[in-house]
């Protein structure tokens, strides 16, 4: 067996037993087992130190609490039975131990031979689609690239000229000098940070962007789930809120932030929600009319458009057909894309550059106007002189080389978890005491529907439609294909039954629900760690159950014969009646496998410094020269994919900063 670090050596036998217990036995050679264990270790190694330590402790707990004999000494049948006993208990302990099972299952189904065996071989398909895209739409693509670097300033700062200097660059933090000075330092290079950087650089200011994650250009993206989770996501995508119903959440950690790993959906906030926002925040500046100009500007730079007809996958068509037969409203997704050809690996980084993440849109724009982007730089604190922000300090590279960037203005755009954590660690305390509060996260759940017909859901765009029939209840439904490893992880079966089910991988539609939550959690900085606590209320839990039932109904209407549900201990549904019965039985929130990729609200903007964190310009109350420009600003949940709104608000923040700069 390969040894993969001394820490793993001690628990490797436990994971080896888990492989025997949960992986299909057919074809499970020593070599394959070794490869799976190597993959498991590389995922554990990608976790933050606290999570990594927790996983290793869990492994030791599993080893000692599975019966008279140590788990690591059990043969395949005995180990499988031990896991089944844990699973039947459905206890909190199982939920923790399940993390270990999930690691093994994901690692197994990421092995090339296993992926091929279930009929998932995306690389040749993607290569063909990429070539078609260039051949068919080359001139369109070039035209959009030109739009990205053409001057179109919001307004200029003072007498500074706009120059397309191309002196900016994206560089590794290893080359970062120990000290830099600039007009504006932006922490975070995702949706908000990239927009602010581009707008301010174009206005004539010197801008430095600091990104904690690495720089991974388009050509470096692969279709390997675990590779993407390690390189592009924080903590390998395995973050979880603390609470009775843990909500698994993931965020990007790379140049371009979460826009590199999202599906590219680009929706404006609805009139209903924006009116609520305007009322809550005490300003009409968040109304539909007032945000229109910012939305239009962002839509132009992000090439927001409906789906390319040839990119729509069968999974999308099936959900649409089922929903429309039920008389439900279905809308085309508007996405940020330049002729997406439906490679369906958006969440591992778009390998063709079609998805207009910040990496290929606003950041090149920022760089073309002279902004410098430094990757691999973790900012530890905002430097304050009294209450004035004067820069940031942090470390870079594996050696933790310290650096400081002094600036006239500081913009924090690290996302709704890291932004409040950074502010709190920097000693910033808002009069409202709400930094980190009001964490909303659109809790979601997913189902796996099995069809008799071939679906090949991975051949088509990540998402092309949304069912909006229940939008006013705060419910959205959509199909989203998952790779085999994540489908297998979601199914509550192991071994041969799992293998049997996975032979139907190309007959599956995986789909999810999004619920606009009504209860907020909180983000706290605990030393250098960040902790998010959140409770799924009975009300939101009931809506998750209802949304899942509606989604299942649509999939049955489309022809599914089985729907695997996200409810612990519940068997798959074989008919709509099975799903309806769930409403009678009752599902507790803690029994729902919940996840999200949308986090917001933790530095909310508004006109009242006693209840809000930032003013309507994004300036942090009770500070000078410190701004927030990301989803933390949201006054309340948005109810749809947030990228476009983050960028629109960031555009407003930048415009306000330019106006302030000119005023002074």
């Amino acid at each position: 067996m390969a040894t993969n670090g001394r820490q793993f050596d001690r628990v490797e036998p436990v994971f080896a037993a888990l492989v025997r217990a949960v992986c299909p036995p057919e074809g499970l050679t020593d070599e394959l087992t070794g490869d799976v264990l190597a993959e498991v270790w590389s995922m554990i190694d990608a976790l933050n130190p606290t999570s990594r330590a927790a996983v290793l402790v869990l492994a030791r707990v599993l080893d000692r609490t599975s019966g008279p004999a140590r788990f690591s000494t059990l043969d395949a049948d005995a180990a499988a039975e031990a896991v089944a006993v844990w699973q039947r208990r459905r206890s909190r302990a199982w939920r923790l131990l399940r993390l270990l099972r999930d690691l093994v299952i994901v690692a197994y189904y990421e092995q090339p031979s296993v992926r091929a065996a279930v009929g998932y071989e995306p690389d040749p398909y993607i290569a063909k689609r990429a070539a078609t895209r260039l051949a068919t739409y080359g001139s369109d693509i070039d035209a959009h690239r030109q739009v990205l670097t053409e001057p179109a300033p919001l307004t200029l700062v003072g007498n500074r000229r706009v120059t397309v200097t191309r002196n900016g660059a994206i560089r590794s933090g290893r080359d970062l000098p120990g000290h830099l000075e600039c007009d504006v330092v932006v922490v975070g290079s995702g949706a908000g940070g990239a927009v602010v950087a581009a707008e301010l650089a174009e206005a004539g200011l010197s801008v430095v962007v600091l990104e904690e994650g690495g720089h991974h250009p388009t050509e470096s993206f692969t279709t390997t789930t675990t590779d993407a989770l390690r390189r592009l996501y924080r903590d390998a995508g395995a973050s979880t809120t603390l609470g009775a119903t843990p909500v698994q959440w993931s965020e990007g950690r790379c140049v371009g932030g979460s826009t590199v790993v999202n599906g590219g959906m680009a929706f404006r906030g609805s009139e209903r929600v924006l009116e609520q926002w305007a009322s809550r925040a005490g300003t009409r500046e968040l109304s539909v009319d007032q945000l229109d100009a910012q939305y239009r500007r962002v839509e132009r730079f992000m090439s927001v458009a409906p789906p390319e007809p040839t990119s729509i996958g069968n999974d999308q068509r099936l959900l649409r057909a089922g929903a429309e037969r039920l008389g439900w409203k279905v809308v085309d997704d508007t996405r940020a894309h330049a002729h997406c050809m439906g490679c369906n690996v958006c969440t591992w980084g778009c390998p063709t550059g079609a998805k207009q993440s910040a990496l290929v849109s606003y950041l090149p724009r920022a760089v073309s106007f002279g902004a410098d982007v430094w990757a691999d730089c973790r900012v530890h604190r905002v430097l304050m002189r009294g209450k004035r922000a004067v820069g940031v300090a942090g470390t870079t590279g594996p050696d933790g080389k310290p650096f400081a960037v002094h600036a006239d203005r500081v913009v924090v755009a690290c996302g709704a978890v890291q932004t409040p954590a950074l502010l709190l660690r920097s000693g910033i305390r808002s009069p409202s005491r709400q930094i980190g509060g009001n964490l909303y996260l659109h809790p979601g759940a997913s189902v796996t529907a099995v069809f008799d017909e071939k679906v090949d859901g991975w051949q088509g765009a990540h998402q092309s439609y949304q069912v909006r029939q229940f939008e006013n209840e705060g419910i959205i439904l959509a199909a989203v294909n998952l790779p085999p490893s994540l489908v297998a992880r979601s199914l509550p079966i192991n071994g041969t039954p799992l293998a049997d089910e996975m032979t139907h991988y190309n007959n599956l539609v995986t789909a999810g629900v999004l619920v606009e939550d009504t209860h907020a959690g909180r983000v706290r900085a605990v030393g250098q760690d960040t902790v998010a606590t959140y409770r799924v209320t009975d009300r939101d839990g009931a809506r998750l159950v209802r949304a899942t039932a509606l989604l299942s109904e649509a999939l049955f209407e489309a022809g599914a014969h089985t729907v695997h549900l996200p409810f612990e201990g519940k068997p798959p549904a074989r008919s709509p009646a099975d799903v309806q019965r769930l409403g009678v039985v009752g599902i507790r929130p803690s029994e729902i496998a919940t996840s999200t990729v949308h986090l917001m609200g933790t530095a909310r903007l508004g006109t009242d410094p006693t209840s809000d964190v930032c003013d309507p310009t994004g300036a942090v109350y009770d500070t000078a020269d410190l701004y927030v420009a990301d989803a933390s600003l949201f006054p309340a949940p948005l109810g749809v994919n947030p990228m476009l709104t983050i960028m629109a608000l960031a555009t407003r923040v930048a415009a306000g900063m330019i106006e302030q700069w000119n005023h002074h």
């Binding site: 002189r385 009294g386 209450k387 410094p609 006693t610 500070t623």
Partner: protein, 156 residues
């Protein structure tokens, strides 16, 4: 209210006197319940101010100045400026700071150590202001109390 208040326009205060009322009960015992605060603008455009004691503590009675023992009416001068975020006195960034030590000739004793924060109560109006007073003891700031100012009339 102080946190939500707007920063008054210092140049708009210059040339006006305000009726002032100290809130704490102790101000009545000390004979400081009622006072007048005046603001002036010098040739360089800087805004300064002064205080005047008022006889009695009945808010409905006439506001009659009570001279100091040395005969002065105006005493305890101060400088007026927006709060500097980098200074020690940066508690309310949305306020004006009345700094009783930042004048050429500070009032001796406690009065020369005062710091007042001042905000508008009514948006866009300098007619009614809310203040909070502190005493500076080295780098420490000891809260003294709240006061309100109502525009009275032009300075003499």
């Amino acid at each position: 209210m102080l946190v939500r208040g707007e920063q008054p326009d210092p140049t708009a205060l210059g040339g006006w006197e305000y009726r002032g009322v100290n809130m704490p009960a102790t101000s009545r015992l000390l004979g400081l319940r009622r006072f007048i605060k005046g603001f002036t603008t010098d040739d360089a455009g800087r805004v300064h101010g002064y205080n005047k004691l008022v006889r009695g503590h009945d808010l409905a009675a006439l506001w009659t100045v009570r001279p100091q023992r040395d005969g002065r009416e105006a005493y305890a001068p101060f400088a007026v400026a927006p709060v500097d975020p980098e200074a020690i006195d940066n508690r309310y960034l949305n306020a004006l700071l009345l700094d009783y030590s930042a004048v050429p000739d500070p009032e001796p004793g406690v009065a020369g150590r005062l710091r007042d924060y001042l905000v508008r109560v009514i948006p866009s109006s300098d007619d009614l202001l809310l203040g909070r007073a502190f005493i500076a003891l080295g780098s420490r700031r000891v809260p003294v109390g709240w006061f309100a100012l109502e525009r009275m009339g032009p300075t003499d």
